[in-house]
Amino acid sequence: MKSLMALFAGVLFGVGLGLAGMTQPAVVLGFLDVGGAWDPRLLFVMAGAVSTTAIGYRLVWRARRPRYETSFDVPSMQHIDTRLLIGAAVFGIGWGIAGYCPGPALASLAGGVGSVWLLVAMMALGWWLASRWPMRFNQKSSTRGDGRATT
C-alpha cells in the first residue's frame, strides 16, 4: 500500500511538471535567462506548488501521524553551513548548463533521448560520489544529520 501511495504521488508530481512546462529544458533555461528573453513561467509553478504545499502540510499535520506510517519524517536541521551552500551552488551551475533538475530529468527518461539517459546516469554517479564525500569538512551537519536528509 505504501508503494501504491508513492506511485500515485510520483505520477501526480510528474504530470504537474509536464503541464507546467518544466519538462521542457528550453522553458527552464528561459526562466534562468533573466538578462535575455525572460520566461517567468517557473515563477508561477513555484507560486502554485509552494502555496498548495504550505496550506496542505498544515492541514495534514493536524493528524497525529500519516495514514500508512507511524510518524511524520521532516528534516530538523536549521543551521546554514558550507556543505549546503557549496551543494546548492554546484547544483545551480549544472541546472543552468542543461536546464534539467532531478524531477524533470527522471520524467524525461520516457522520451527515450540518449543524452537525457546520459544526464540521468551521470546524476546518479554524482549522487553516489557525494554520498562518499568526507563528512568531516562540516562536523556539525555530520553529527546532527544522518547524511541522507530527504529534503
Partner: protein, 141 residues
C-alpha cells in the same frame, strides 16, 4: 489555456503530490533524496522506487490524456548534458536537496536552510545562463 495559467495549475498538482506523500507516508517530496535513496539501497527503498516509477511514467499518462507528453528536446550537446548531470547529482546530494525538496517542500515549511539553498541555486543557475548565453555566446556543440 494561457501558459502562465497552465504553469500555475501544474504547480498546484506538484503541491498536491507533496501533500499526498506527507499525508500517506509522512515524507518530504524531495526528488534527489528519494531517488538517490533507491540507488544506495536504503531499507525503505520500495516506496522510493515506486515514486520514481510514477515520475518516469507520468509523461505517458499526460500523453494518454492530452495527446502531448509535455517533454521538450535537450538544448545542449551530449558532453554538456553529461557534465550538467554530474554537477546536479553532486550538488543536490551535498546540498541535501533540489528544486522540489528545498524549493517547494522546504519553503512551504518555512525552513531557513531551504530558503537559502533555493536562492543560491537560482542565482547560480541564472549566472550560469548569463555567462553561457551572453558572455561566451553559447556552448560549443
Amino acid at each position: 489555456m494561457h501558459p502562465w495559467v497552465l504553469s500555475l495549475l501544474g504547480g498546484v498538482l506538484i503541491g498536491l503530490a507533496a501533500v499526498w506523500l506527507m499525508a500517506t507516508l509522512g515524507r518530504i517530496a524531495g526528488i534527489s533524496g528519494i531517488a538517490s535513496g533507491v540507488l544506495t539501497g536504503v531499507r525503505d527503498w520500495h516506496w522510493r522506487a515506486a515514486f520514481v516509477a510514477g515520475l518516469v511514467i507520468s509523461p505517458l499518462c499526460l500523453w494518454l490524456v492530452r495527446g502531448d507528453s509535455g517533454l521538450g528536446a535537450p538544448q545542449v550537446a551530449w558532453p554538456w548534458m553529461a557534465l550538467a548531470g554530474l554537477l546536479v547529482g553532486i550538488g543536490t546530494r551535498l546540498g541535501s536537496g533540489c528544486t522540489s525538496g528545498h524549493g517547494v517542500c522546504g519553503i512551504a515549511r518555512l525552513s531557513p536552510r531551504s530558503f537559502v539553498a533555493t536562492v543560491a541555486f537560482m542565482v547560480l543557475g541564472m549566472g550560469t545562463v548569463a555567462l553561457i548565453r551572453h558572455w561566451i555566446g553559447g556552448l560549443p556543440a
